[in-house]
Amino acid sequence: MSIQEFLIPLLAASVIAGTPILYAALGELITERAGIINLGVEGIMLVGAVSGFMVAVTSGNPWFGLLASMMAGGAVALIHAFLTITLRANQVVSGLALTIFGTGLSGYLGKAYIGIPVENPFSVMPLGPLADIPFIGPIFFQHDALVYISYVLVLVIWYYMYHTRPGLNLRALGENPAAMDALGLNVFYLRYIYVVAGGALGGVGGAYLSLAYAPSWLENMTAGRGWIAVALVIFALWNPWRALMGAYLFGGIDALGFRLQVLGIQMSPFFLKMLPYLFTVLILVFVVARHKGRLSTPGALGLSYDREER
């Protein structure tokens, strides 16, 4: 098998495998840029996956499922927003509670849907002439609609954050909410918006798994992808383009696993499955150690904002 025959499908598979992580990471990215850390991504993805699946199966239309997953993800994130922004609860514990709750909730709701096929999953839609470009075509332009949307999303988020006024405000929100408050911006309201929006994106990430990647519903089908997304935001240094590259890198590790056997490398399937997690740890350590702890973390990340705090 030539390098091309091996590499191109691998890279294409990387994109697909990385897309759910990308959505979740983008969601977490904007949440953290607003200054709130949401560790409930794993639970949100699962809730998004199951609700998207349920609605898609019932209605026969995957786009309704997509919408449902966004609403479900946003709704669950709203709990986190209420607890951490209005009630000033500890963000770490609240996020963990969300993961546990979301995992349980999705398992509960999805029980009846295990093993049921979805009639109309998101299917591959080659993008006309773009799909025919040698090398690049098959890697990026022969996928389903949600992948294409994710490309646009990265672009939109990048432009929003760095080239528009509300985006500037978003970045400032996570750095110095007191400054934003003193300037008359409603810190609470804005944070609510971004946390819920982040949740909606997380839901989409989950829906991608159940409506395109698998497509099916299985309990705990995210298998830690939500957590990888959280880690990804850190070593993407809170930047959308780096998040994209990181997501595809992870997709690659995932996809590589299956393909190693083709190369004649025999490895226990368990070790192959370990790779993404080990990889996450190693990269995280590498990136943080290299910056000697002086990461460009949003300055006020994880802290509750209280205007009258003396």
Binding site: L83, L87, L96, I100, T103, W227, F270, K273, Y277, V285
Partner: protein, 361 residues
């Protein structure tokens, strides 16, 4: 039209009354919310709750099972609480439990003819060391480079579980086990004795002893004092001359060791072998238990029993077609309400009328 607004005003000191009442109310509210949810999904909440209660706390068998489930929960929660005291977010109790179980298993599989007075202590030691080392792997980057331990401990959970899978599907698989992913059953000498004829094993004493030790350490000991300071303000601790790095390593190691002990106790006291899925998520539930108990070791014992009951109840309702995940949901909901309720201990809610009058005076 009278418009009421409420405002949160920070209290000078947390209200002691609230500290006690809030967890209670939270549990009740969570059950209430769960009840509403069950109704919405077409179930009968009262029947289900009654069934859960009966089968977990209302019968001798139920109580036994509840205690059985409570023991690993107690241990992992104690381990987690030690780390949390120093604001080290050890989410890896699950993996540390698995590694402890694995290491403990190695001894009877390799040296099945050891006498019990060497076998059991050996298993305890191996279990604790393995759990401790697994935690240490994440403690080192945390101590030296401030790498976030939440993610690293969590990732290692998945690795540990897969590692055990590898062993029980592969080299450690019982040749006489009809191809199930299990090891050979442990010899008698490798089994923790039970209380009387019940399934409740000596792991319970480990838990009780550790709870007492930790309670004393936290409240009265030198080391407990320094952990308190470091967890409360790392800057002040450094200023005071305390060795932060060393304490991070030590605390994480011990935290992992205690969870490793939980793993050893599970395979030795209950399961009798190593297999796929030895824990239904004790390491994660431990986090809820520890937080609910406000990191108080004695409270942890009690809350563990409650959550053990929840778990057993969850299994029980499966028989009437309700997924066991209802227990997980309730656990999450309880934590939500506790978190939300904490605001009342730290803040006072004041009501204002439209004119700006303080109505709560």
């Amino acid at each position: 039209m009278n418009r009421l607004t409420f405002k949160l005003e920070k209290r000078l000191t947390p209200s002691p009354v609230m500290v006690f009442i809030i967890p209670l109310i939270s549990v009740l509210l969570a059950l209430l919310l769960g009840g509403i949810f069950l109704v919405l999904t077409g179930e009968e909440p009262l029947t289900i709750y009654l069934l859960m209660f009966e089968d977990s706390l209302g019968s001798k068998y139920g109580l036994t099972e509840t205690m059985v489930k409570a023991i690993p929960l107690m241990l992992t929660s104690l381990g987690v609480s030690l780390a949390f005291k120093m604001k080290l977010w050890n989410i890896g109790a699950e993996g540390q439990l698995y590694m402890g179980a694995m290491a403990a298993t190695w001894l009877p599989l390799t040296f099945p003819y050891l006498p019990v007075y060497l076998m059991l202590p050996g298993m305890v030691a191996l279990g604790m060391i393995a759990g401790g080392l697994w935690a240490l792997l994440t403690a080192i980057p945390r101590a030296i480079w401030k790498v976030n331990e939440i993610i690293t401990t969590l990732m290692l959970n998945y690795v540990a579980i897969l590692w055990v899978d590898f062993l029980v599907y592969g080299p450690w698989r019982d040749p006489n086990g009809s191809n199930f992913p299990i090891t050979a059953s442990f010899v008698e000498a490798a089994r923790l004795p039970g209380l009387g004829n019940s399934r409740i094993h000596t792991g319970l004493f480990f838990a009780l002893a550790l709870a007492v030790i930790l309670a004393i350490v936290f409240k009265y000991s030198r080391w407990g004092y320094s952990i308190n300071v470091i967890g409360s303000s790392e800057r002040a601790a450094r200023y005071a001359g305390m060795n932060i790095k060393r304490n991070i390593l030590l605390v994480m190691f011990l935290s992992g060791a205690i969870s490793g002990l939980a793993g050893m106790a599970e395979v030795s006291g209950i399961i009798g072998k190593l297999q796929h899925g030895i824990s239904p998520g004790y390491g994660y539930t431990a986090i809820i238990v520890a937080w609910l108990s406000k990191l108080n070791p004695l409270a942890i014992l009690i809350v563990s029993i409650l959550f053990g009951a929840l778990q057993v109840g969850g299994y029980a309702v499966q028989l009437v077609g309700v997924p066991a995940t209802v227990a997980t949901m309730l656990q999450g909901a309880i934590l939500f309400f506790v978190l939300g309720g904490e605001v009342f201990t730290n803040y006072r809610v004041k009501l204002f009328s439209e004119k700006g009058e303080d109505l709560s005076k």
